[in-house]
């Protein structure tokens, strides 16, 4: 259509001297003011136009003599092109092309070459030629982008989003059917303890593997035989990996306990690629006890904190360590060291030291230092010690401190 030719050129003037200008799309004022559909009124403004506001060349009207449809179609494409800013890519390519052509200020005899070059590069003819090149390129690019059988990578965001919607609708129907069938299958399995004929059972296994191959989550696809062996193997791998870990292994100076998050991060980092999922980790660690690997998964009541700990790990051992620390601190205080149990009188400025058996309380942070584990785990140990009656807590405005549980010894 005639309107396409207006892509890069201005409208034809009705003046005697025809002029050609090249107006690059980047010179158009940003949308929405840059281009505007106007005209089509019954009285003054009969023809359908596009008003174009440019930064470099002022204002234009593109007049579409074939009517509204033409104008609208072009407006649509034009707008899309202005949004996509394809020239930012093609401009770079053009730069490379131009350096190939050269402006002629080359090595050979200066006079002739430059004269020739300037003759070629300057002048109306040259401009028109360049315009035509650019026009042809733009046309080709547009066709690629909006052509039906064009390469998928030129799809616009909207088109891609639409494809997602389409897939979703179609897939929803299909998955609905599948889930319904799977539900009846599971029901039958529960009722009969089997699906009946041998063939049916075979088919069910095939269906299960098909579903699994698609990543569909159903009760059927939960744990297959191959998964079981995968998780067992993973359990052994993690065990081997941690056996040389100094923070974990007690025989290497470690604490014997580690949060799952730490295990996850350490192990996956070491793995580098094909990382395991948290689900895999939990499955694998859950099997360790059964496989007698020397460590097991444990979840603390209350907080839900999950850890991996050595089988020899004992909360009461930790509690005893804490009490030992508390007692040694108390000992130090009673010997006169430290400032515990003393106070300054604000009125007289005297310092009185009361010889009292000072009671030292532990915070989670201090406990962490004593036990050489993270504050999170130390807190769990304090709580566990409290549960078992070794310690009791004192909650003040400055935080929670744990003390030796004297109630037990007092009323023993």
């Amino acid at each position: 259509s005639t309107s396409n030719d207006n892509n890069n050129n201005d409208n034809d003037n009705n003046n005697s001297t025809a002029q050609a200008h090249f107006l690059h799309h980047c010179a158009i004022h940003p949308l929405p003011h840059g281009i505007e559909a106007t005209g089509g009124n019954w009285t003054s403004n009969r023809s359908y136009k596009i008003h174009l506001a440019s930064i470099t060349h002022g204002n234009f009207h593109l007049i579409f003599r074939k009517g509204q449809k033409d104008r609208d179609a072009f407006f649509d494409y034009f707008q899309k092109a202005l949004v996509r800013r394809q020239w930012e890519e093609s401009y770079r390519l053009q730069q490379n092309q131009q350096t190939g052509i050269g402006i002629g200020m080359g090595s050979s005899s200066f006079g002739n070459v430059s004269a020739n070059a300037s003759a070629k590069q300057v002048g109306v003819e040259a401009i028109l030629q360049r315009n035509q090149h650019r026009h042809d390129r733009a046309k080709r690019l547009t066709q690629d982008a909006f052509g039906k059988e064009g390469t998928k990578k030129k799809q616009s965001k909207n088109e891609r989003a639409q494809e997602v919607e389409v897939l979703f609708r179609e897939a929803k129907e299909l998955t609905g059917i599948i889930h319904k069938y799977v539900a009846t299958l599971e029901k039958n399995q529960n009722e009969n303890g089997g699906t009946g004929s041998a063939n049916a059972q075979e088919d069910t296994t095939e269906l299960t593997s098909l579903l699994q191959g698609m990543g569909m989550i159903t009760a059927l696809t939960k744990e297959s035989a191959s998964d079981k062996s995968f998780h067992e193997m993973l359990a052994r791998q993690i065990c081997d990996f941690l056996s040389s870990n100094k923070a974990f292994k007690t025989n290497k100076g470690g604490s014997g306990i580690m949060t799952l998050t730490d295990v996850y991060c350490l192990y996956n980092r070491a793995r580098g690629a094909n990382m395991i999922s948290p689900e895999d980790l939990i499955e694998a660690l859950g099997r360790m006890e059964r496989l007698s690997l020397g460590m097991k998964l444990r979840e603390f009541d209350g907080s839900g904190v999950k850890v991996l700990q050595e089988t020899g790990f004992d909360d009461s051992v930790m509690a005893k360590k804490l009490i030992e620390h508390i007692e040694s601190e108390e000992g130090q205080c009673n010997a006169g060291k430290g400032g515990m149990g003393g106070f300054t009188s604000y009125f007289t400025g005297e310092v009185k030291v009361e010889i009292k058996k000072a009671h030292v309380g532990l915070t989670a942070l201090e406990a962490a230092r004593v036990l050489k584990i993270s504050p999170l785990l130390a807190n769990e140990q304090l709580l566990s010690a409290e549960q078992n009656g070794y310690l009791c807590r004192d909650v003040t405005m400055e935080g929670t401190r744990f003390y030796r549980n004297l109630f037990v010894s007092m009323f023993a």
Partner: protein, 251 residues
Amino acid sequence: MAHRRGRAGIGALKKKGETSKFTKKAEEIKTTSLKSAMETVKQLEIKLTKFAKAHHKTIAKDPAFRHKFLSMCAPLGVDPLTTKKSFWSFLQMGDFYHELAVKVAEVCFAYRSRNGGIMSIKEVQSVLLRRGTKFRLNEVVTNYSADDIVVAIGKLKQLGSGFRTVKVGGTQMILSVPTELDNDHVQVIQLAQNAGGGITLNSVSDMIGWEDDRVKRAMDLLLSEGMAWIDRYEGLEYYWFPSVWKDSFVM
């Protein structure tokens, strides 16, 4: 007069041993349904494969598209992140999110002493970007969005160290400690956020009309967790929240 009993109905059939016919029919129906179910599954697989092949580059490059794709899969009961061998494995999305999860966890741990275990997603993102962290996904370097981080946090949740997201005002924050924060705490943090990172106890009561005790209780927990830092200056006590202080200065 009672009608003849036991003539018709399933009871009669059972008596007469006719149930075998129905069992057989049931089996037949089951097998045909199985066949049609498998057909449906194969159909679905074709559709998904076509889509995945056409769009795997976009999934790698465009976080918004990736997010849309994942949210489409969820209600279908399809998990493209599964580590079990599935045809999604070639997308390597699982790898991407698991690696992202590890990196996010590491950033949270590194900054915990500073912010007490609460950190805005934006801040985590900017830390990773500053470090120049890249991920492998289809062997194409990607950019990752806040949505991606949220998915990664969702994965970390299961590990039981308390990873979760919480909304403070308009900002999404990541919690990496199991401490329970109730609405009061969140509101206090939000007030601090609005005030640019630091508030006094009085300003809290002024702004939302709580009693002093209530304010103190909330603030004490935040203090003890290390999420708030107390600054005693010229007789006034200011409470600073590094997690939102940083946020309001992030460009």
